[in-house]
């Protein structure tokens, strides 16, 4: 997760400690030597969903799937996560609000010392439900909207989903619950970015997370934008962020799921603000640590299977019914975990000698697997130019980044 608003405009935010290890003091110049030690855990509390989104990585369905963790087993999982020192548990799905015990589990998680946050389609967020979740200790609700009304409703397979999600966000904001947008960049949604941000800032939303598509579940390569269009979309989001900040509206904008963005932001900062700013951006991103799969983010699915990321549902490291989460996550005998954590030294092709491999770590290994069938191949959605990739460090070469 890369914060454009932090890197380009110095906006401090609550989650910065997990992205830049700046939790102790939100000083924009602070750089710490150690990366986040324990993963943020996404828990797909259910596979059941009331929508049918085209690119759902969890391949969620209307029916409740067999093997879902019971309330007691879910509390056991939360015990494991707290004991291991996990900082944040993200209740996700499917649609987590379909679990009738969600408030109870959020309450339990926060009592155990976990920061509880929610990923939801927003359509089931009523004022009463929000109030009870907030009372239980929920810190944040990320609501998925993908495009303007018509685009979103077609994407989600339900007319009225957009309006229902906006009502859900309004319910959160009215209650004073920190709320943000989750937005997946696809061919269909990329043109709608500015319109959705403008509309939701009017509603009161000030945090916008833009996700690149990873290739899991119904998220398949054919649905993705081209690398060139991705680059254009990222640049437009940078410009949008700058425009808001220049008129005094400090929105928070973040990019998730493609660490070519890290290199792009260094180059963008160099081009727009000069080498000193670019150097500062790069140092932040060195601490950030690049693609987090298998290291700073983990996933536990609705059956208790542990995955290297939430998108990587086709391979499980183990199951929490058999072993505690911490034992699975620290099992050094697993060669895949080792390979993910040894990056960038084991990358091949253009990633192997890329000047930004330290802050990108090869991007998505899942996309490399999905397209190239090779765990160490380049991320097919890297959009950096050859000149950018061969840049050894942040120096003012006198040229433009997009040569």
């Amino acid at each position: 997760m890369i914060s454009i608003s932090k890197l380009l405009h110095g906006l401090d935010a609550e989650g910065d400690g997990l992205r830049y290890d700046a939790a102790d003091e939100n000083d924009r110049d602070q750089i710490r030597r150690q990366k986040q030690r324990r993963p943020v855990v996404v828990w797909n509390a259910t596979k059941q969903c009331n929508l049918a989104c085209e690119h759902c990585y969890a391949a969620a369905e209307f029916e409740r799937a067999p093997g879902e963790l019971s309330t007691a087993a879910a509390k056991g999982l939360l015990d494991d996560l707290a004991e291991f020192g996990v900082p944040v548990v993200l209740f996700s799905g499917g649609e987590p609000l379909l679990r009738q015990d969600l408030v109870e589990l959020v309450d339990y998680a926060t009592d155990a010392g976990l920061r509880a946050v929610l990923s939801t389609n927003g359509t089931l967020l009523t004022p009463d439900r929000v109030r009870r979740l907030q009372t239980a200790g929920l810190s944040y609700a990320g609501v998925s909207v993908d495009g303007r009304r018509a685009t979103n409703d077609a994407f989600r397979g339900r007319e009225g989903a957009f309006d229902a999600a906006v009502r859900g966000m309004e319910a959160c904001l009215d209650a004073g619950l920190k709320t943000g947008l989750r937005y997946t960049i696809t061919d269909a949604t990329a043109p709608d970015v500015e319109g959705v941000v403008d509309l939701l800032t009017d509603v009161g939303v000030d945090r916008f997370c833009f996700y690149h598509l990873d290739y899991g579940g119904r998220g398949i390569p054919d649905a993705d934008v081209t690398p060139d269009r991705r680059r254009e979309a990222v640049e437009r989001i940078c410009e949008l962020t700058t425009a808001y900040h220049e008129r005094g509206e400090e929105i928070e904008t973040l990019l998730v799921g493609n660490y070519a963005d890290a290199a792009f932001l260094v180059e963008y900062a160099r081009r727009e603000y000069g080498p000193d700013r670019a150097e500062r951006v790069r140092r932040y991103l060195e601490v950030n640590g690049g693609d987090p799969a298998g290291e700073r983010v983990a996933d536990v699915d609705y059956q208790g299977n542990v995955h290297a990321t939430q998108f990587w549902q086709g391979y499980s490291l183990g199951n929490v019914r058999d072993r505690p989460f911490g034992a699975i996550w620290t099992d050094d005998s697993n060669p895949l975990l080792g390979a993910l954590r040894e990056r960038p030294t084991n990358l091949s092709g253009k990633c192997g000698d890329c000047g930004y491999r330290d802050i990108c770590r090869g991007g998505s290994r899942l996309r490399a697997l999905g397209v190239e069938g090779d765990l160490f191949a380049p991320d097919p959605q890297c959009y950096l130019t050859e000149r950018e990739r061969t840049a050894p460090a942040v120096v003012d070469t006198g040229g433009t980044a997009a040569d």
Binding site: E63, T71, R158, P335
Partner: protein, 108 residues
């Protein structure tokens, strides 16, 4: 099967963990050996509809680190553990076993 996904065993302290692990496709437990004198170790599981595709997936993930790959269908594997996830917690309230399906639901 109990609510926590285990079945009582006749042996003290041991429980069979028989909650499903497969999701849509068949699941295969993966066992690896790096060198002939190394131990065979469990390395998780892959989802695949057939043994051949499971082998292909496992080779893609672990071919760089293994000389031997064994695959075992998860639904043919009996898992026993002294661990019972959530045993300390009461399951009498909260999540109900059969909640209604939201199809046609309430998004609008």
């Amino acid at each position: 099967m109990t609510d926590d996904g285990t079945t009582e065993s006749t042996t003290d302290d041991w429980h069979r963990v028989d909650a499903p692990r497969a999701d849509g496709s068949r699941e295969w437990e993966v066992f690896l050996r790096d060198a002939p004198d190394d131990e065979l170790t469990h390395a998780g599981s892959v989802s695949a509809p057939s043994a051949d595709l499971a082998h292909e997936q496992a080779t893609t993930l672990f071919g760089h680190a293994a000389a031997t790959i064994w695959l075992c269908p998860t639904d043919e594997t009996r898992r026993f553990s002294r661990r019972r996830l959530g045993a300390a917690h009461d399951d009498t309230d909260g999540q109900t076993p059969d909640r209604p399906t939201p199809a046609g639901g309430d998004a609008a």
